[in-house]
Symmetry: C2
Subunit: 206 residues, 2 copies
DNA sequence: GTCTATAGGAGGATAGAC
DNA sequence: GTCTATCCTCCTATAGAC
């Protein structure tokens, strides 16, 4: 009884890990159930036994990925930390996370584009909306206080996000254009944690 | 004779335009030859008559897209324009281009990831390598002259590219998170041309 | 050059034994 | 729960008439 349950969870877990790898690398359309089965060390039939269909399995993976991509920023945004410190935390958090999940952003952005108006993504986001507004307000207050230069919160935050995430999305081109290999790329991204924060601060501080 | 040739080119052109739309929206794996045929107003067999296979047709589209995505920046980079002016030109050029080709970056980045080490992309890039080095040197010279703050050319250029391109890659999420529709999004991107340039200048100028 | 009809194969899904 | 064998649909590609 206990054995069966353990075995069950192990198999399910193996499938999920394999599916995650394959879907994140190849996308929904490019992924093959056979590849997932091979990587999990089982056969196709078992995939359907556990998850009924490719679409259902994909849904599980996508939702987990989407949640990871829009993570628990609520607390960070809404906290009473100084703005500049929030920015630093944000950049460090994202670059660290993407170093460990390099395929995540392209996967999520790509699959989102196809569905266009994903109800689950909206659900994921809902709870965070107020925190973002709070952060935007904080930016405007700092501007009023005169501690930072005027800039629409939209553009400031989009700049921060862009500089943190885009290099991972464009990884193949960055590697080609700057003639770097994987270890060098990783090192450069590590550097960016400080460089990007400094770049932002230099830009907005008076 | 002339009629036949015109007709021929028209059909080929119609196919290319249809294929471009479908491939850019759905990717290689997601695209259906039937959809391309429908959009071109012809039938599947003609697609193969003109382009022999799906892969060949895709290649034509991808190469055109890749060339557009890494456009004629050689002249800009290598010109004797002041650095700050080059940056301005670059940002304006990219945002303008992406306003008209919204699917381009995600398509190229996505398909590049799958092949990993695309020989054609390398070919496309080759000619531009020297111009990039020239631009990097220019950055270093400005730093030595003391006109801008120290920053590795890699990070400065990656920041510029990131802020220009990422919003288009992340369009669905940006729209969701900031609750904007398509016309508002377009307007915000128009704003960004000035905002991003200003943001960069504020950051690097002493 | 353009069409209809169909071959051929890949891949998701199910049946049924163990 | 897990496997093998098989079904069936979808889609690329080709044959052949016009």
């Amino acid at each position: 009884m206990v054995d069966e349950k353990d075995k069950d969870q192990n198999t399910e877990q193996k499938i999920l890990e394999a599916a995650k790898e394959v879907f994140l690398e190849r996308g929904l359309d490019g992924a093959r159930m056979q590849d997932i089965a091979d990587k999990a060390g089982i056969n196709k039939a078992l995939l359907h036994y556990y998850f009924r269909s490719k679409d259902r399995l994909f849904d599980v993976i996508f939702r987990e990925a989407a949640a990871r991509f829009l993570p628990k920023l609520g607390e960070l945004f809404a906290s009473d930390m100084p703005l500049l410190e929030k920015i630093e935390k944000f950049v460090h958090f994202y670059i660290d996370m993407l170093q460990q999940n390099p395929h995540l952003p392209l996967f999520v952005l790509n699959e989102m584009q196809k569905v266009d108006g994903d109800e689950f993504m909206e659900f994921i986001w809902q709870g965070k909306q107020p925190a973002l507004k709070a952060m935007a307000t904080q930016v405007e207050e700092e501007i009023k206080k005169g501690t930072i230069k005027p800039i629409k919160p939209f553009h400031l935050l989009l700049n921060i996000v862009s500089m943190s995430i885009f290099p991972f999305v464009a990884r193949p081109i960055v590697k080609l254009v700057w003639e770097v290999d994987d270890p060098q790329f990783k090192e450069l991204m590590e550097e960016r944690k400080k460089v990007v924060v400094q770049f932002i601060l230099d830009s907005i501080r008076k």
